[in-house]
Symmetry: C2
């Protein structure tokens, strides 16, 4: 039976993994950006892993080795930040091909360290092996104070849905590259930058649920709703887009809103917040946009566009 | 420049990674079976990662999906046990190919869980993606009491070098498979079994240095000597071999001692122990053989065979 036949990537994960865990140390296992473990008197331990495969998450034709290393670290740090946490210790597994040169590895590590050092992360272990294609995996550990932990399941009907920065940039860059248009805006795809640790910590102080944008706004809001047992309305017109993202979408005959909703790897933060806390957050951090509202479950999950209710399509799925 | 030109896998790791780590939480970073982090008042946190790539660490022609899952977990648990620790929480990253079927994944997870449950490990997170070949990576966390931690660097001249069980079985199985000889003994390659947690804990109580056998006895003794600043003598005649390993070696015109010294993935334990502690250990655990002695650094690292001193060749190297 094909994986698509049972409903794709997320259905497969549901089929194979066990949400319940009998270990009392495990606060949260499968089903959030990180696993959460009991740690010190004041903090939890956070653990996340991310694998990137050549010709799938990166290509040696477009990406420099520096960018591959940088992107791998940012993707993982983003998961820790989305829990309200601070990243600390990283472990790299890497499969190199017979063609991999030493200079390539020097540059890959330079990118990896550049991102790591900007977030205070120490690379303290790993596994080096080889294969027919290049594959990299990072395991990243971090910590979060007990009262700063933010889960996907913490959204409450009435919360406003907010997103940091702008969306659709990575998908726009990918589409341009696929058409051979190597403009400066493709850097959002080649070397995405996640939010800073301090930003996540401030947002966590005011928000309810939080998640990072790795598969598009639509997919992330869906995850929040599933885990929180809520519905949601996303206001199509309010989705924050850069003019260059809109221009790139026009060039490839697409809609930039779709890049934002269904494209991957923007590594922004989506969070839900009680309306009365918005102003206090904005006093300390203002680079975010209100894009919707958390609703009771029975109202469903939908887009509101020109006064019309539309379905939120499924996000990127490796196996759909 | 090719990786082989700078000296292969271990030279590359030395070039790229930084042994020193300014973070006071990091007790031991790069350079042992696991990284070691400060954790509770009585224990350290252990972290290890292992990547297995299709057609390199396994092949779909020989390995069942159950065996791939089982082997991945055993390889990682072995690293925790070799520190004197107890494994707890695992995180799976997996790249599937377009051809991967749901039934394959069911079996892979059944093997992974079978090993995990036998060691008390909980699988609590991961990343599922796809690629042109199948790649699996496990990150495994465990813990060890402060006084039970055993590092590669803890060997002392005068220690006896011991190894659990028998060696060369995995390499013998691999060689038979390569010649199309699918005998029962190939299971040591297809589904290797690491030592049990209680065995590692008892050995740790009595030994100085410990390491698991993933690249052959020669390579592991070399690692201990490098980290401990010692030399070593391995007694060729005393290397423990099963009759079936000797028979397999004969069939493929090789020497079973070489399988033990330079073959991979036996997942036995090599440890060094003061001679006066051997009997006390044997009272509680006896499945080990004395194969040599730790010497002062100036005596070098060598094999003693028929009264003749021989060099210990380098072990398996992905890039040599």
């Amino acid at each position: 039976m094909k994986i698509a036949d049972i409903g794709g990537e997320f259905a497969l994960i549901k089929r194979l993994t066990r949400k319940a865990c009998a270990d009392p140390v495990v606060v949260k296992g499968v089903g959030d950006d990180c696993a959460v473990l009991k740690y010190t008197d004041i903090s939890y331990l956070l653990v996340t892993v991310d694998m990137m495969v050549e010709n799938d998450h990166f290509t040696l034709e477009w990406h420099s080795p520096y960018q591959i290393g940088y992107k791998l670290m940012e993707a993982n740090v983003s998961d820790i930040i989305a829990m309200g946490g601070t990243p600390h210790w990283a472990f790299l597994s890497i499969a190199l091909t017979p063609a991999t040169e030493v200079e390539f590895m020097d540059e890959f590590y330079r990118g990896l360290y550049a991102s790591a050092e900007s977030h205070g992360v120490h690379l303290i272990g790993g596994d080096t092996t080889h294969g027919a294609i290049m594959v990299v995996n990072l395991a990243l550990l971090g910590a979060v104070e007990h009262d700063a932990l933010r889960l996907r399941s913490m959204a409450v009907p009435g919360d406003l849905i907010c997103v940091t920065g702008t969306l659709g940039r990575s998908e726009a860059g990918l589409r341009l590259l696929k058409q051979g248009l190597r403009e400066s805006s493709v850097n959002s795809h080649l070397q995405p930058r996640c939010r800073r640790v301090w930003e996540g910590r401030i947002i966590a102080h005011f928000c309810h649920a939080m998640i990072d944008v790795s598969d598009g706004l639509g997919s992330e809001v869906r995850h929040i709703c599933e885990e929180s047992g809520t519905g949601a309305c996303i206001d199509w017109e309010k989705i924050p887009l850069l003019p260059e993202t809109v221009a790139a979408a026009a060039k490839v005959s697409a809609d930039a809103h779709d890049f934002a909703l269904y494209g991957g790897e923007d590594f922004e933060l989506v969070f839900t917040i009680a309306p009365e806390n918005i102003d206090a957050l904005r006093d300390q951090f203002s680079d975010f946009t209100v894009v919707g509202e958390i609703l009771p479950a029975e109202e469903g999950i939908y887009l509101m566009r020109d006064g019309q209710r539309q379905d939120v399509k499924k996000g990127f799925d490796h196996f759909a």
